[in-house]
């Protein structure tokens, strides 16, 4: 069967929006987004993007909610969420530092930048510090090859990074925490 892409099918008739048991308003926003796609099953990835944008990460409860709303088996939703690198199933730190490991960045020493960040934060890439302040991640290529090595700090791309520059940024993030403790 060919799903109709332009006209709304039967499933699109908006089911009464029931508030999520948790009373969390973000579920309502997510629900509106699902309706925008007429709850089409092929919109699963779009819906997961929105869910992660709203909640920061995809916990089991959230995946079940999506599965229910799109009338998909939870295994399918979980399978998709774990297949793509972009989705994270664990909470992220308050700050994220993404070191690009694309070829251009690699030949210009991004491995050293990453090693310095790992040593300073005391975690490996892909992990979050125990105090939930910092998540250290790597990217395959962010397409900023002419300004390699590139690092993304909280969504902002920074050009031509050195180990010293990364350490300075991590220190800057740490400062306010120290002040409060």
């Amino acid at each position: 069967m060919i799903p109709s892409l332009t006209s709304a099918g039967e499933e699109s008739s908006p089911a009464r929006v029931t508030a999520h048991a948790s009373g969390d308003k973000r579920f309502k926003i997510l629900e509106a987004h699902i309706k925008k796609f007429q709850a089409r099953q092929d919109a699963l990835i779009e819906v997961l993007h929105k869910a992660q944008e709203l909640f920061g990460y995809l916990e089991d409860d959230l995946l079940l909610f999506v599965a229910h709303r799109l009338k998909l088996p939870p295994s399918r939703v979980y399978g998709v969420a774990t297949f793509y690198h972009f989705f994270c199933l664990k909470p992220q730190g308050a700050h994220t530092c993404v070191v690009c490991l694309g070829t251009a960045c690699y030949v210009k020493g991004s491995a050293k930048v990453l090693a310095a960040a790992e040593a300073a934060a005391g975690i490996k890439s892909g992990e979050t510090t125990p105090d939930s302040q910092l998540s250290l991640l790597t990217a395959r290529c962010i397409g900023a090859c002419a300004i390699a090595p590139a690092v993304v700090y909280d969504g902002q791309v920074a050009a031509k990074q050195t180990p010293e520059m990364v350490l300075a940024q991590l220190e800057k993030w740490r400062e306010p925490c120290k002040a409060t403790t």
Binding site: T6, E46, H85, G143, A146, A159
Partner: protein, 543 residues
């Protein structure tokens, strides 16, 4: 909307032009160096000096020379344009002094530099010139005329014929003739057909598609619309990586504006032709650049490939005939329609026509995007345009094609850049990444780097790729830790052969290429790391 309406929009827009134009690059590269603050600073300075009537500050897409960014171009001067490099927000007053032909004391790029003069801008003609977030700018640059011409004057079959005659080949890497693909989709029976633009630019070290989408989104949309008309589709999907948020937002703006003007949607140019485009955002899976995996992802499933045939041209999205082309391929369509297949076929070599955009990066003096005619030599690109290796080092190799390509050693720099020549050297044209490596680069480490990538990105569906990449990675690790013997190299070569010939999709089939090409040209770097065979086994193998 009619052809005259396009002319009216263009004329009205021309009328609003100022004498001077400050083009501020607001592409992802320059944005990382506060390009938005630069534009704000220029806007404020123009206002403060009361020059609004004379100077326009325009947001533009990528100007190409990203290594010198942020860039600001100044048009309207007596002699020629001025291109300011390494601009900071504090430079705004000095730039305005330059407009007034006063001494500015800023760093200026040389427009006669081979980096610019050797380029041939077909796909990137509007890059760095027009405002990518204003459809009027695109229309004023002759935009949507090709679509109008196609819809009102020629039959779909003639469009396919024109593209075939141009000799255009797929810019995603494999180089399949575009006209042939279009013809197959057009002939495939089906109630519904789809057009998909593959913007899942996953090759590390490549950003041509990002730049095209950020700098000239309407060019791609118009190309897709023409393709849809030619093959008989009414729905398109643009698959873009989540790593490119700026490209996604500019595409969303472009689609909205095109719909408002009736250039997308139902009854375009008052013809029966209907075409809608939806954006699909990738989620970080390299394998989704493979067309059958990409289709699975568009359908909201795990991005795993399936065997071909049936090819997407026969059975694609939801089982319907589907045309899948790369971003740069679609970006070539409008120039071909506007200027004719014969003109396009006159550029390039006998079997590789037109131009190709490359991302020239790595250990090279001049980093950035270049668009060159096919058939140019690697030496011209790396030494003349790129200015050679950084700091007087020697160029050792050029890597093309990313994890599916190979390393071409310096002695082959006189190779012509075309599909066949690069394949002969064990590399591929690929999507256009060109990473220069100097003599400090360890080629075995580069091979391990790519194998680590493929091991990580293997979708796990077929065993040769899933297990083979892991084994090859471990062998490379063993070689690099100086624990391997000649037997391990033999085993590595055997595995390369096996994975290459038995994997399901292009990812696995090409994953051994970086190893094979470094083994072919830099074998001594491998053998230097080897241990002698234990004496007993040596005798045994000698028997």
């Amino acid at each position: 909307m009619q052809g005259d309406d396009l002319a009216a929009i263009a004329e009205k827009h021309q009328g609003s032009r100022r004498k001077y134009c400050l083009r501020t690059c607001m592409s992802a590269g320059c944005m990382s160096s506060r390009a938005d603050a630069i534009k704000k600073g220029l806007d404020a300075e123009v206002k403060a000096q009361g020059l609004e009537g004379e100077v326009e500050v325009r947001r533009v897409g990528c100007m190409g020379f990203c290594g010198l960014g942020p860039l600001v171009g100044l048009d309207g001067m007596k002699e020629r344009e001025i291109l300011f490099e390494h601009v900071t927000p504090e430079d705004a007053p000095a730039i305005i002094r330059a407009v007034q032909a006063k001494d500015h004391g800023l760093q200026v790029a040389d427009p006669d530099h081979p980096f610019f003069s050797k380029q041939m801008r077909v796909v990137r003609a509007n890059g760095g010139i027009i405002d990518p977030e204003r459809i009027e700018d695109y229309v004023a640059a002759n935009g949507y005329r090709a679509l109008y011409h196609v819809l009102t004057d020629i039959r779909p079959a003639e469009v396919v014929e024109e593209i075939t005659r141009s000799g255009l080949r797929g810019r995603g890497g494999a180089g399949f003739p575009t006209g042939l693909k279009w013809g197959t989709v057009a002939k495939s029976p089906g109630a519904r057909k789809f057009v998909v633009c593959n913007g899942d630019e996953g090759d590390p070290g490549a950003y041509m598609d990002r730049s095209i989408l950020e700098s000239d989104p309407h060019l791609v949309l118009e190309g897709m619309a023409i393709a849809a008309y030619a093959v008989g589709a009414d729905q398109g999907f643009l698959y873009v990586r989540a790593e490119y948020p700026l490209a996604i937002s500019r595409l969303q703006t472009a689609i909205r504006q095109a719909k408002q003007l009736g250039l997308l949607g139902g009854g375009i140019f008052e013809t029966p032709f209907t075409f809608n485009v939806d954006i699909r955002i990738g989620a970080g899976a390299f394998v989704c650049g493979e067309e059958t995996a990409l289709m699975a992802s568009v359908e909201g499933r795990r991005g795993t490939p399936r065997p071909r045939p049936p090819f997407p041209a026969e059975r694609g999205l939801w089982g319907c005939p589907t045309l899948i082309n790369n971003v740069e391929t679609f970006a070539n369509i409008v120039p071909i329609i506007n200027r004719g297949a014969a003109w396009y076929a006159g550029i390039g070599t006998e079997r590789s026509k037109g131009t190709k955009v490359f991302a020239l990066t790595g250990k090279v003096q001049n980093n950035g995007l270049i668009e060159v005619p096919m058939g140019i030599t690697l030496r011209q690109i790396v030494e003349e345009m790129g200015g050679g290796a950084i700091g007087g080092a020697k160029v050792k190799a050029v890597q093309t094609g990313g994890p599916s390509g190979g390393c071409i050693p310096a002695e082959y720099l006189d190779t012509s850049v075309d599909y066949e020549s690069l394949t002969k050297l064990g590399s591929i044209m690929g999507s256009g990444g060109m990473v220069v490596m100097d003599d400090s680069t360890n080629m075995v480490e580069i091979a391990r780097f790519y194998m680590d990538f493929c091991r990580d990105e293997s979708c796990g569906k077929c065993i040769p790729c899933r297990a083979g990449t892991v084994q090859m990675f471990e062998l490379l690790e063993k070689i690099l830790s100086r624990k391997a013997t000649a037997r391990d190299i033999a085993m590595l070569e055997e595995l390369c052969d096996l994975v290459k010939h038995t994997s399901l999709c292009g990812l696995g089939q090409t994953a051994p290429n970086p190893v094979l090409s470094t083994l072919r040209f830099f074998r001594n770097e491998y053998t230097e790391l080897l241990q002698p065979e234990p004496a007993g086994e040596c005798a045994a193998s000698g028997q």
